[in-house]
């Protein structure tokens, strides 16, 4: 049986949950699954894959696109060329996937959130999830995929037998790109992951001068203010207030999203809130697909009307 090579991610010894989506798509495609992991002991259900290859290298060496290309080459020498090389669509997954595709001349489809095995097509987001492109690869080369978190994990299924394990040693390590250190985010007084009620503002807020009025509304409602990436990028709110994959994952009782369209990186950070209320002037904004309640309208007018009600 042909096989799929899964490049798993582990940061600071933790097996990332998004690896389950890589396993899921390979199971769905009916491939023997061979998972690459850096050296170490990880906590996860190993029976979800057919084989595990531990690479004698730390995670900082492993999660480096230049080294990863050398590791893939080494695996291919002994096992033959995989049908698929599957990465998570994360900071490091997307980086290594692109480099490997370029180096080996393999087709690449990124941010895959669905597939139709019979038709051989993969669904990929365009225009912030407003459209999806159906893509297929041409020729019979190995296909490189990066997989969107949360899209395929339900397809991961236990195998009958425990995985075969092997170790790869002697990986060529690049000296042109080297890991220096991890940098932690600065600690702040407010931890948005602990809040029961988050009032989150997005790109729709328009400009910095509007922010104090939302802070005032949050204060009146006894909510904590947070934001999506565009607002944090412009430094209108501090980085510690960012909700999303590169910020914080939150699970409040109520998440009030104002002027947030719903990029999947943002959705990944707040989709587990008990109640999501979204306000956006674009009725087609993806966030309405995830919200429990929606209001199509001008966020500033809603803000002022809410203030009026609370102040009586």
């Amino acid at each position: 049986m042909s096989y799929a090579l899964i490049v798993a991610e582990a940061r600071r010894g933790i097996f990332e949950e998004r690896n389950l989506d890589s396993i899921g798509i390979c199971t769905l495609l009916g491939k023997e699954t061979v998972m690459l992991l850096p050296d170490g002991q990880y906590s996860f259900n190993e029976k979800l894959v057919d084989s595990i290859i531990k690479v004698k290298a730390g995670e900082e060496v492993f999660l480096n696109p230049l080294n990863m290309a050398a590791i893939i080459e080494k695996v291919s020498e002994t096992r033959g060329r995989p049908d698929f090389i599957v990465f998570t669509h994360s900071s490091s997954g997307a980086e290594s996937a692109a480099y490997a595709a370029g180096l080996f001349g393999f087709p690449i489809i990124t941010d895959v959130s669905g597939c139709d095995k019979e038709r051989g097509v993969f669904f990929k987001s365009y225009y912030s999830d407003k459209l999806f492109g159906e893509f297929k690869t041409t020729g019979d080369a190995t296909s490189v995929l990066t997989v969107r978190s949360g899209s395929f994990k339900e397809f991961a299924a236990e195998k009958a037998a425990a995985p075969r394990e092997e170790v790869i040693e002697g990986v060529t390590v690049s000296d042109s790109r080297t890991f220096v250190e991890y940098v932690e985010e600065e600690k702040t007084d407010i931890d948005i992951t602990k809040a029961d009620f988050l009032l989150s503002v997005g790109r729709g807020v328009g400009n910095k001068d509007e922010i104090p009025a939302y802070e005032e509304l949050a204060g009146l409602l006894k909510a904590v203010i947070s934001g999506s990436r565009p607002v944090i990028d412009k430094m209108w709110l501090p980085k510690a207030r960012q909700v999303g994959t590169s910020g914080k994952t939150v699970k409040p009782k109520v998440y009030l999203a104002m002027g947030i369209s719903g990029a999947f990186q943002h959705i990944a950070g707040m989709k587990d809130a008990d109640c999501i209320i979204a306000i956006n002037k674009d009725a087609e904004a993806p966030i309405f697909q995830y919200a429990h309640y929606g209001i199509v309208g001008d966020m500033h007018k809603v803000r002022d009307a809410l203030k009026g009600i609370v102040k009586g």
Partner: protein
């Protein structure tokens, strides 16, 4: 340091409804405005800042139709020395084909550089892979999701890249290299209409994309476009603004977050 920065003209779809035509073979862009790709704006700014501090020059490059000249003029108004347009008559959906075209262009025209900057991804196709493919094709080191450039030395840079959950990774990379810039790394400077008008007097060179076709055959094919699958969807609150807000307040009370 001489830096090549790739900048792309993309449709501004943030607040627009997208309409499929020709049974999903095409998207109707006829009524949409166009703009510079957001991530590229940060990449241009970062390159200009490095050159302002340490010397050298920034050259902006765009792959696209003749209209893409507008993003080159914008980059020049921000501080790029000049601009190259590689004209292609159709959108290259395949990031490998795009990377190969850029590689061919750089090599055939002997374009000098110490570093190549791209945005992390394009707002339209969101592939996030042209930078990595280009680096591999040029046999150069690559770092993506760069959210900070801590130092620029003669033969290397130390950069910070963004990981998930607020964590960052500091990395040393030798030059020449390819760097993909993440949004939020800086605050792109304001560009006035007058500045863009002035920039249009700076010469931009135009090249024909078909001159650089060798080995850029597409590896993937776009079969068709589809609308995203509908999920459960929200219960929409309708009526007058006052009534909507009262309903919202009732929900907050019901959920126990406001008394």
């Amino acid at each position: 340091m001489n830096i090549l920065v790739f900048t792309k003209r993309v449709p501004a779809t943030q607040e627009e409804e997208l309409r499929l035509i020709n049974d999903g073979k095409d998207v109707d862009f006829s009524k949409l405005p166009f703009k510079v790709n957001d991530w590229d704006n940060y990449a241009v700014e970062e390159a200009v800042k490095i050159v302002e501090k340490g010397g050298g020059a920034v050259t902006a490059v765009s792959i696209g139709d003749t209209e893409s000249d507008e993003v080159l003029r914008r980059a020049i108004a921000m501080g790029a020395k000049d601009g190259f347009l590689v004209e292609v008559d159709q959108v290259l959906h395949d990031p490998f084909a795009r990377g190969a075209l850029i590689r061919n262009f750089i090599q055939k025209e002997n374009v000098p550089f110490d570093a190549i900057f791209t945005g992390v991804q394009s707002e339209d196709d969101q592939f996030a892979s042209v930078g990595g493919i280009l680096a591999a094709l040029l046999k150069l080191p690559y770092v993506s999701m760069v959210i900070g450039i801590d130092s620029v030395e003669k033969d290397h840079m130390v950069v910070r890249r963004e990981l998930e959950g607020g964590l960052q990774e500091r990395v040393r990379v030798t030059t020449p290299c390819v760097i993909s810039i993440q949004s939020g790394i800086n605050e792109p400077r304001y560009v006035s209409i007058m500045g863009i008008r002035k920039a249009s007097k700076v010469e931009r060179k135009s090249f024909k994309g078909k001159e650089y076709d060798a080995g850029k055959e597409a590896h993937i094919e776009l079969v068709k476009w589809v609308y995203p699958p509908k999920k459960g969807g929200a219960q929409m609150l309708g009526g007058e603004l006052g009534d909507i807000c009262k309903k919202l307040m009732e929900i907050l009370k019901e959920k126990g977050v406001y008394q």
